[in-house]
């Protein structure tokens, strides 16, 4: 683990109109880590991710990525810096084929390396190779999630942010998706994972932050949080 964090969020304050949604949230992600933000509905997990990726702006506080303050960097340029978001609810391009979706993921990359990157993504998700001529909207939920993740990987992210990858998926698919996250981590990816499924997220995470109504209430190593009685009671069903 290097000394400088890949991503450092400091004292973020985000508002929706007059609603103070994120109240002074700070966290760090170091190279090679899986860090998870967990919490109930409305705790501010997705808002935090959207702020890091530039879709939303914090009123105060800063996001530093690889030593650069992202405050003045427009949203569409943040991807080119190596910060990729897999948005909540899959959000694939429904009318494009699987391959066109993946090519869209390389929008900020030079076209020269796309063929090779496609091969890598297909190696990781063999199912996508089988369906590469198929229209995105005809894929199953799990396949769409894989496609959204594959698309994000096409931009060579130095940090991959996943927003609720397990949302609306059958348990067996959730297991598959988490296995893929583990594999990506094993291959050296740095991952920031937002999840409601605290059990699954904490069991693969190096560290976790627990959010409650816009604030970080607890932080610690994944296994530690998993064993903590309060966390068990609040999020893991006793």
């Amino acid at each position: 683990m290097s000394k400088e964090p890949v991503l450092k969020a400091e004292n973020l304050n985000v508002y929706y109109g007059s609603i103070h949604a994120i109240k002074g949230v700070s966290f760090e992600v170091y190279e090679g880590e899986i860090v998870t933000l967990i919490g109930a509905n409305g705790a501010g997990k997705s808002t935090t991710l959207n702020t890091v990726s530039g879709i939303l702006r914090s009123r105060t506080g800063s996001v530093t990525f690889l030593g650069e303050n992202l405050r003045r960097v427009p949203c569409h340029k943040i991807v080119a810096r190596g910060l990729a978001l897999v948005p909540e609810g899959r959000r694939i391009f429904l009318q494009m084929t699987v391959e066109e979706n993946l090519e869209m993921g390389a929008f900020t990359q030079s076209p020269a390396g796309i063929a090779q990157d496609l091969e890598q993504v297909y190696a990781l998700f063999p199912r996508l190779r089988e369906r590469r001529k198929q229209i995105g909207g005809t894929l199953s939920g799990g396949e769409q999630q894989m496609l959204a993740m594959g698309r994000a990987l096409m931009s060579h992210p130095k940090l991959l942010m996943l927003d609720e990858p397990s949302m609306g998926l059958a348990p067996i698919l959730v297991e598959q998706i988490f296995q893929i996250i583990r594999n990506l981590h094993g291959a050296g990816s740095t991952i920031l994972l937002v999840e409601q499924n605290a059990q699954a997220a904490l069991s693969i995470a190096n560290r976790g932050y627990v959010l409650e109504t816009g604030k970080v209430v607890t932080t610690g190593a994944g296994q530690e949080l998993l064993a903590s009685p309060e966390i068990k009671k609040a999020y893991l069903g006793g």
């Binding site: 569409h76 948005p87 429904l94 090519e103 929008f107 931009s155």
Partner: protein, 352 residues
């Protein structure tokens, strides 16, 4: 993106239709009323394909497309009149007028695009509707004269003091009168071809892919690094420029042009062409624009029931176009599942 065989078919059919009509015209096989409609049909076809770029490809509902047509009609025609002595060759004058019309409409598109493209869906539709009405009000009250000292402009009343030697071109609610009819069917055909080349090249390019990505899912487009405002603007301005030149072509087919011609009804009429022809389907827009321009004229003998029959035909077309058998038939000619409405259905099913 792979070149769609559909694009090639569109070019072939447009060229074929032009050639056939030219032959018919040479042999005197066209009625005088149909001959008179050739240029307006070309103008409406360009209007329909350009609106299809905004509505079908970009996926934003614009209700003010006639506004851009109006900008092009007035400023293009004014240019042609001002150049009447300087440029004696009609074809050259028409070309310059169409280019000027496209430029001014593009500027109008850019200015209106700055606030509008930050909006989505219904809000965008409402603002474009208002834009169309504002343009109509401006040209209804605009006086523009040209003389030796240059261009004079005034609003509400004619205070331009245009010299006797010059000419007051735009006369408020009376619009422009005494236009030389320099628009030709061939010019219209060339404008359609240019529009198709511009639109198909845009759709096939990297920028076109970005525009369609925004239509499919703007959050996902943002997440892969697409500059949403930039690409929306690109589609919107291109659409406006083409509509502007269509307006100029249209206006110079008549001896007078007034602002009320380009009102909300015209915007809706063009939207009907696009929706009936199929969103994103340029060939459909061309056919719908041509058929629906000829139809009211063809129904003139039964004048009293004309609008009734027109409405019934629209409904019948919608019903048959949605019939599973008809759809299956046409789906064989296109890539499956490309129709926007179908994909929307998928999304809804997914959400349930």
């Amino acid at each position: 993106m792979k070149k769609s065989p559909f694009h090639f078919l569109t070019y072939v059919l447009v060229i074929g239709a032009y050639a056939a009509l030219q032959v018919l015209q040479a042999r005197g096989g066209l009625s005088s009323s149909l001959r008179g409609m050739l240029v307006p049909i070309c103008a409406y076809v360009v209007m329909a394909v350009s609106l299809n770029l905004t509505v079908g490809v970009l996926g934003e509902l614009s209700l003010g497309h006639a506004g851009f047509m109006s900008v092009g009609a007035f400023l293009g025609t004014s240019t042609a009149i001002a150049l009447q002595d300087a440029v004696p060759v009609p074809a050259v004058r028409l070309t310059i007028a169409l280019i000027v019309a496209a430029l001014f409409a593009a500027i109008a598109g850019f200015l209106i695009g700055i606030p509008v493209l930050r909006l989505n869906g219904d809000y965008l539709a409402i603002v474009t509707l208002a834009f169309g009405e504002i343009i109509k009000a401006i040209f209804n009250n605009l006086y523009l004269g040209v003389d030796g000292k240059g261009v004079h402009i005034s609003l509400l009343e004619d205070t331009t003091r245009t010299a006797e030697t010059g000419r007051l071109i735009i006369q408020g609610p009376m619009g422009i009168g005494g236009i030389q009819k320099i628009s030709t069917f061939t010019a219209g055909f060339i404008l359609i071809m240019i529009s198709l080349i511009v639109i198909f090249n845009l759709v096939n390019s990297r920028a076109g892919r970005a525009i369609m990505a925004i239509r499919d899912n703007h959050i996902a487009a943002q997440s892969v690094g697409v500059n949403i405002i930039k690409y929306k603007m690109m589609a919107f301005v291109t659409s406006a420029a083409l509509a502007g030149s269509a307006g100029a072509l249209f206006a110079m087919n008549y001896s007078t042009v007034v602002a009320n011609k380009f009102d909300f009804n015209t915007s809706i009429l063009i939207l009907v062409f696009v929706v009936l022809g199929g969103l994103g389907n340029m060939l459909g827009s061309i056919i719908a624009a041509a058929v629906l321009t000829i139809l009211p004229e063809a129904l003139r003998p039964i004048a009293e029931y004309r609008m009734l029959l027109y409405a019934v035909l629209l409904i019948v077309m919608m019903l048959t176009a949605n019939h599973p058998f008809v759809r299956a038939f046409f789906n064989r000619f296109r890539q499956t599942g490309r129709l926007r409405l179908e994909a929307d259905g998928d999304e809804e099913r997914e959400a349930v």
